[in-house]
């Protein structure tokens, strides 16, 4: 019942296991695990077909931003138990998960709100970038609308 809250973060060049992320937040004091999985959509951009994404991160800073993100979540939803994020790096094919986030909480409402906030904050603050790669061989750096200095961001 009194286990310490865990914040688990992993950057990985391998396929992400949803089960592994879910297991990382498992707690016998929690009735609810909320999970979000972000994947690459099959998409056409100006007639070019997206075949995958290339991710990179400022790894050490990403780890410290994750701690900050967890502190923020716990300040808003003190009841949240464990938080785990696995994020892909390098080449990610269309359809594969690029991020999996899971949060355990005694009741589901807190966890559901926390994960919505958590994913928005992750997109706004984690020093991670992706380039969309097209079948035409070229590529574009993406920008999250949640990032305050993006060209389409909320200032």
């Amino acid at each position: 019942m009194s286990e310490e809250p865990r914040d688990v973060f992993k950057l990985s060049c391998d396929w992400l296991s949803v089960q592994e992320v879910v297991d990382a937040v498992n707690s016998s004091s929690c009735g609810a695990v909320s999970v979000f999985i972000g994947t690459t959509r099959e998409d056409q951009v100006e007639g070019r077909k997206v075949i995958g994404l290339e991710y990179e991160a400022y790894e050490l800073m990403a780890k410290s931003e994750f701690s900050r993100l967890c502190d923020d979540i716990r300040a808003r939803w003190p009841i949240v138990k464990h938080i785990c994020v696995h994020h892909r790096l390098g080449w990610v094919k269309v359809g594969e998960a690029s991020v999996v986030m899971a949060i355990s909480s005694p009741h589901r409402d807190d966890g559901q709100q926390a994960i919505q906030h958590g994913i928005s904050q992750l997109k706004a603050t984690m020093p991670i970038w992706k380039k969309e790669v097209y079948d035409s061989q070229d590529a574009d750096w993406k920008e999250n609308a949640e990032c305050s200095w993006s060209t389409h961001g909320e200032k």
């Binding site: 990179e56 400022y58 603050t125 984690m126 991670i128 970038w129 380039k131 999250n144 200095w149 993006s150």
Partner: protein
Amino acid sequence: SFMTAQVLVLYFAKSAELTGRKEEELPDVPTPISSGDLWRLLLRRHPRLSALQHHVVLAVRQQYVAVGDQVVTLADGDEVAVVPPLSGG
């Protein structure tokens, strides 16, 4: 008298493409320095970085710093990163 510091500059995503490098040592960065002046110093070294103008922040010792009036103090070995718009997730 003014001081300088030797800092490690990291370039990510589009900034690495524009500069053609992932990192470089800058041996003589004045300190203290405003983040705006620090950005202009990087711009002079790599004019192509102007493609990011108004849509970039810096990270000094792994803390975000908007490009502007904020003054930062640098020490030898400090990391400064050029941070284009984020796209994690």
